[in-house]
Symmetry: C2
Subunit: 415 residues, 2 copies
């Protein structure tokens, strides 16, 4: 077995981060465009590597869903290159002034955004994360240390090689993006323990990966473990709007973290049946509390566990609640603080919900499926965070920066 030492990678990353931190926006963008070009130019080599991974995965009996995530084709490679180019076109947060104040003694204080430093990305089967996460880190002036899953190791290596060759051709440091050269699980442990050497870890993958990272990391983590999202239909909801929102929130794509998993219905809603019927007719299994079951015989029984379950499937738990207060209380108990929505025409009720629901994203008259950095206009996202510090909700370039205080004086002493 290969001996793996993370420390030299961290030292190289820190040095690269120092160069990137001081680099003008145009140079970073040029570097990323060169990386995108190189990914396209080396499509054949990337596809060949991917074919090795696919062959091994098929022998290993991976599920069709996992095989699909792993598979690359020229369309997907081009999409990856376009993704890098899209990041290169984003506004650069580095150097932005957050605020300025002048003190009575004449000191002028600015808070300006600066890169975080060294970001560790730990991800699973989708090899496109290699390019995607690396591009976001570099554009925000950070060095990235990537650790991909073993299934995609050849694909990741080929994409990484193309990416850094492109960066280097444009004069950026090759160590701006490093790929951990082993898929040994101990490498993940080393990254999670690297407090001071890695400044932030972003896990991208399934729940067991995220849970392990959150449990073991000695380095700050941005992530969400669950997306137990709620849609609440208030008595004052417009019926057609409520039906359209709820069906979209649950069923547009059931496998994403912003999909609604629990429908809360105000007991005072005049006609809950049409919403329930629309869901059932669209093929959704419903599991309700006793009162919800009374709406339609096709609604099954929800157990206590259902209220805390992220189905990621066409299954929805349904609870009847006493108005917006009841909805807020249910959400406080069961939400994963990702995204929760209210449907109502009553602005005061909506504002109460927006204020009192303590989630990263709270919506009024919109589908929870909009919980996405692209939909939020952030251009791309490194992930969605449900923790309470640093950044919440979709995290993009700004979330990959921190700030420092610049104090300009004219000889002031505290005396």
């Amino acid at each position: 077995m290969m001996e793996f030492d993370l420390a030299p990678m961290c030292v190289a990353a820190r040095a690269a981060a120092g160069q990137l931190a001081a680099m003008p926006t145009a140079r970073k963008a040029d570097g990323l465009r060169a990386a995108a070009d190189m990914v396209r130019n080396r499509a054949a080599a990337i596809l060949e590597a991917n074919a090795q991974d696919m062959a091994r995965a098929e022998q290993g009996g991976l599920t069709d869903a996992l095989l699909d995530r792993l598979r690359l084709d020229t369309g997907r490679i081009d999409a990856m290159a376009q993704g890098i180019e899209a990041v290169a076109a984003l506004a650069d947060p580095v150097g932005q002034r957050i605020d300025r104040s002048e003190r009575p003694n004449g000191l002028v204080l600015d808070r300006v955004r600066v890169p975080i430093g060294v970001i560790g990305i730990i991800f699973e089967s989708r090899p496109n994360v290699t390019a995607d996460a690396a591009a976001l880190c570099v554009m925000a002036g950070n060095a990235a240390i990537l650790r991909g899953g073993s299934e995609a190791r050849a694909s990741n290596a080929a994409i990484h090689l193309a990416f850094v060759t492109g960066l280097e051709s444009a004069g950026l440091p090759r160590d701006a993006v490093q790929l951990v050269p082993t898929t040994d699980r101990a490498a993940v442990g080393a990254m999670l323990a690297a407090a001071g050497a890695i400044d932030l870890i972003v896990p991208r993958g399934g729940k067991s990966l995220v849970a392990r990272v959150q449990a073991d990391a000695r380095v700050p983590v941005l992530a969400h473990l669950d997306g137990i999202c709620h849609s609440y239909v208030d008595a004052a909801a417009d019926p057609a709007r409520a039906r359209a929102i709820v069906v979209d929130a649950k069923l547009r794509r059931t496998g994403i973290c912003g999909a609604t998993e629990t429908l809360l219905i105000d007991r005072a809603l005049p006609d809950p049946y049409t919403i329930v019927a629309a869901l059932l007719e669209a093929g959704c299994e419903l599991r309700g509390d006793a009162d919800a079951q009374a709406i339609d015989a096709r609604i099954g029984v929800a157990t206590a566990q259902d209220w805390d379950t992220e189905y990621l499937a066409p299954i929805l738990s349904v609870a009847m609640v006493d108005g917006v207060g009841g909805a807020i209380a249910h959400i406080a108990r069961h939400s994963s603080h990702h995204t929760d929505a209210i449907v109502t025409e009553d602005a005061a009720t909506a504002e109460r919900f927006l204020t009192d629901v303590d989630s990263a994203i709270v919506m009024w008259n919109a589908s929870t499926q909009f919980a996405d950095g692209g939909e939020f206009g952030l251009g791309a996202e490194i992930g969605i965070a449900t923790g309470r510090l640093h950044a919440r909700g979709p995290v993009a370039l700004e979330g990959l920066t921190t700030y420092k205080w610049l104090v300009r004086g004219t000889g002031q002493v505290r005396g």
Copy 2:
């Protein structure tokens, strides 16, 4: 020995935090003013408790410095009450809109500041921290769980009792501020392990406390371990200004984290002697590298360890460097990323230093002793952070908040 269970305190804190999060600014401020009044009204009881702590501490042989930190008198109690009132007068960050955007589909996105939730404060001998930290937490809408040191246990209990009695008299939840009822060290361990129940830990105390908290916490921590601050005198510095700044930065108070610990002198500085002489004459011990020792025979020898030492005393290490580039390189190796300053009349050199030095606070022509929330106009500070996430430098009310996304729609579905 008393069995201590943190969990019920965390549950009570979470409930109180929910009430505080939705509370208007005026009610929080009223609560804090009532707490300040009660601290003044109960001064006799607080002093009696403090006398018990002092008696025990004197028997226990505490140093004079520690005894002074522990000691309360009516002046100090009044200062504590004034500190609470000052926090009550600060602008409330909760509900502030950070930004707004409208998407092409008509969704309107606001990011608004909200409290973090439950904050754990772990502190040592100074009993005034009880009131001070509690006031900041409450004003930012957070519940606080305080754990003070055993030396001050009677004082802390008396101050806490007065504080929460005041809060309650104004209709605020008593559990907004709880004091851990044991000074057993295991209580600290329980707080550090309480991920999900406590959202943030702020240690206030000596280096060994901070080091333990940083090493063991499973909860995010805002803190600084060291304040190894540098002042760099560039060749283009004004001599009189440089002398005044350096003497103040080192000697105004030597025991604070913003005190300069290393002086960097540009080899091209025409007259380094006057600065060195001013420091020596003011009673400062200097330890220099070989070139620095050549300036004056009274400069002693700096060992490798001196460059990484926070003296907190009238001792200063002195290194000669090759211009601003040499200063930046020295700082990158040895700074604790707290506060570093340049003295120069050359604006371009200053801007290079401000950009390239990666510390929470970077100063130009000012004393590093200004590194303080009060001096920064923040009104008060819960501490100074040298980590890279969430908040850097002096942390006050804004640093005790996070944000959420509010999305207002008119029936948008992702479709």
